[in-house]
Amino acid sequence: MSEFSSRVEAQRQILKAVNSKAWKKEQLFALTGSAIQRWATANGVDGSAQLLKLLNLASAQIFVMSNHSDDPIAGTYLITKQRVATLEGQVRDELSSSQFSEVLARAE
């Protein structure tokens, strides 16, 4: 998988995790800062929620991945990729916490 695909896939997996919940208004469309803000406002997610912090961290790390994309073997890229994977796990844990228990899982 190319680094470009790898970056797209990292975002996709986090979006799938977040959107596995049936949010009131809108899905999270992307991991850009403005998309996260739109989703949080539309669905009334508390601005201080840990989930929001994790998503913004993942957004920043994906930006770092793109900046080191010409050298995917280099340490920074691999470390950042691992950080994004860890954040994905933390997002999944946060979604299953009691705070979001009232948001139902989406039926596919």
Binding site: S2, V8, K16, F29, T32
Partner: protein
């Protein structure tokens, strides 16, 4: 630091959906630069892209304007012309792969649907730009490159489907616009075979072009 404008604003293509693309060249981290407003590159990375002859280097060489230079120099101009673009086949294959992954994700679930449509728009635009630069020798850097290809290579989907893909892209990058409705999603999904066939043909032509180049 060097700041450049590039893209549609430099071509004079202004419409309501156009944003202004800005490039920042920096020596190290600069926290004054908002990543959502600038494409940020180090000087060394830009030099590598120039040396590799990447489509983005060609885009900047042909369609950028210097806005600010902390040392009064035009850094990009000083690099001269980028190297020949030789990786067109692997790039076309890469973006075809990105399309296939998005399509597969759409089949699996709707949990990242807008993002997957946005990714399809990106893959369609990028394969058209890589093909036009590497194979046709007439680069099209517009985000509508797929529609502006010569008639034999133009993306064969309806205008409406194309606009839904474009709207998805804008939803993901700028968070502006309305969500994609079920009926609209169905329309785009029904065009995926056409997109697949179009991309397959571009990859075939790119392979053939590479063989001709290698034998001459």
């Amino acid at each position: 630091m060097h700041l450049y404008a590039f893209g549609s604003v430099c071509r004079g293509e202004i419409d309501r959906d156009s944003d202004i693309d800005l490039l920042a060249l920096v020596s190290g981290h600069d926290n004054r630069l908002e990543q959502s407003k600038y494409s940020i590159y180090s000087y060394s990375k830009m030099k590598k892209m120039w040396f590799k002859g990447s489509p983005f280097a060609w885009h900047l060489a042909l369609e950028s304007r210097l806005l600010f230079a902390s040392d009064d120099s035009d850094f990009l101009k000083s690099l001269g012309q980028p190297s020949s673009y030789v990786h067109f086949l692997s790039d076309c294959e890469k973006f075809y792969g990105v399309f296939l992954e998005a399509r597969s994700s759409l089949t699996e679930s709707t949990s990242s649907r807008v993002f997957d449509f946005s990714t399809i728009f990106l893959s369609v635009r990028n394969i058209a730009t890589c093909f036009s630069l590497g194979v046709l020798g007439q680069p099209i850097f517009s985000r509508h490159a797929a529609l502006r290809m010569p008639p034999d290579f133009k993306l064969p989907i309806s205008e409406r489907s194309y606009r839904i893909l474009e709207r998805s892209r804008i939803l993901c990058t700028r968070s502006v616009g309305s969500d994609i409705a079920e009926e609209e999603a169905g329309l785009v999904l029904s065009e995926c075979d056409n997109i697949d066939h179009w991309m397959t043909e571009l990859v075939k032509k790119a392979k053939s072009h590479e063989r001709i180049q290698q034998s001459s």
